[in-house]
Symmetry: C2
Subunit: 233 residues, 2 copies
């Protein structure tokens, strides 16, 4: 029997790679995206293209408004997204952190997974580039598994959730190399924190800086569509 | 400084009691309800009345559609709510269990709490009446706290989440007695799993049976409005 997995799919580079890896490992993939009030909503169109291109069995966009309580530059338009400031190696929590986001996202993935009988969840968290996000660290993932095990049918039916984080210890260069080997077309993805309405990247947020450096380091032409005035070159 | 707490408020008997207890302990209360596709949506009007009557500082209804993946009699109209079948003492998970519901609800409470600076969450889970729900058990609550501690600002700022479950070990009779001493007007609440559109209770679901027995045991007149043909007396 083919095993099912839920893959959290933002439409960015990391989650697209995750989806390709889940497919390569033989899972039937159910992609889950969130329309949560993020300013970079063209991500969702990217997610749709990626899910289709990589052969997800289903793609669902879950609506909920995390912007209603604000607290992050990604959902609150009164907080600016920092420009030309790499998050790499930072020890403080960046303003682009969305409170409890991965806790909420994984919880909803577990809810869908429980109904589908998909006990494998994939999330593209990464500890190398963004050490500042608490909800991307291995300790959180482990603690989440324990909470999901205790609070769902898993505990009574004696099975365990598996949360796969295949990118946890990889740099952007390695992620890109891995993704290309697994068939990801990165031109379909959007990583920018502050893209224009057409999905063109700003070229200056922490996410753009990392992504661009990743392609350069991997020696792969950067397929990102930058907006004309935003490229800064 | 007055401490803030988030109280998960369904509009039912237990969560109303929780809210009153949080107020009595001196918290400034932020009530959080979910419009998640439940069939008993008149609960939300009840929640609004309860929040107002008990002096919540704010009441927020968070919209998200958990019915889209089904899996529960409370969200999926193709699954019937059982009648005249008490859940009490049951060891199997009832069909009214909503997959990962309290994991999702508490995660969203933590998200709002993180923005508000409210590190105390109240939830009216109870281990006596509904032992069949995994997400109402103390082990889940403990595991959730560990996950929230690891996946939010708590870990970097060196504080801890507190999840208060003041009803955990009480029977319905004791909950009602406690609530009345704390000023709850139970006529404002709706507990029924399958009320009619006016909010009148069916009188026959597991929740109605427990609630009615609780009032009888407490020797308090039952203020519940039952629908005419549903009372079955």
């Amino acid at each position: 029997m083919v095993k099912k997995a839920i893959v959290l799919l933002s439409g960015g580079l990391d989650s697209a790679t995750c989806l390709a890896l889940a497919k390569r490992r033989g899972f039937e993939v159910y992609a889950l995206s969130f329309d949560y009030g993020q300013r970079h909503r063209c991500e969702l169109e990217a997610a749709h293209r990626v899910a289709e291109a990589l052969g997800a069995t289903a793609h669902r966009i879950f609506n909920m408004d995390l912007s209603q309580w604000g607290g992050s530059a990604l959902t609150d338009r009164s907080i600016d997204v920092p420009v030309d400031e790499a998050a790499e190696g930072s020890d403080t929590i960046p303003v682009t952190y969305v409170p409890a986001r991965n806790l909420v996202f994984l919880s909803l993935a577990a809810a869908w997974g429980e109904v589908l009988g998909a006990h494998d969840l994939f999330i593209g968290v990464n500890n190398v580039d963004y050490s500042g996000y608490p909800d991307c660290r291995p300790k959180f993932i482990e603690a989440f598994i324990a909470a999901a095990d205790a609070g769902t049918r898993a505990v009574d039916e004696k099975w365990h959730w598996r949360v796969h984080t295949p990118l946890q210890n990889l740099g952007k260069k390695e992620i890109i190399e891995l993704g290309i080997s697994a068939g990801v077309d990165y031109s379909l993805t959007v990583s920018c924190y502050d893209p224009d309405p057409t999905g063109a990247a700003c070229g200056h947020c922490a996410s753009c800086l990392l992504r661009r450096a990743g392609f350069a380091a991997a020696g792969v032409p950067d397929p990102t569509r930058y907006r004309a005035q935003g490229r800064g070159e």
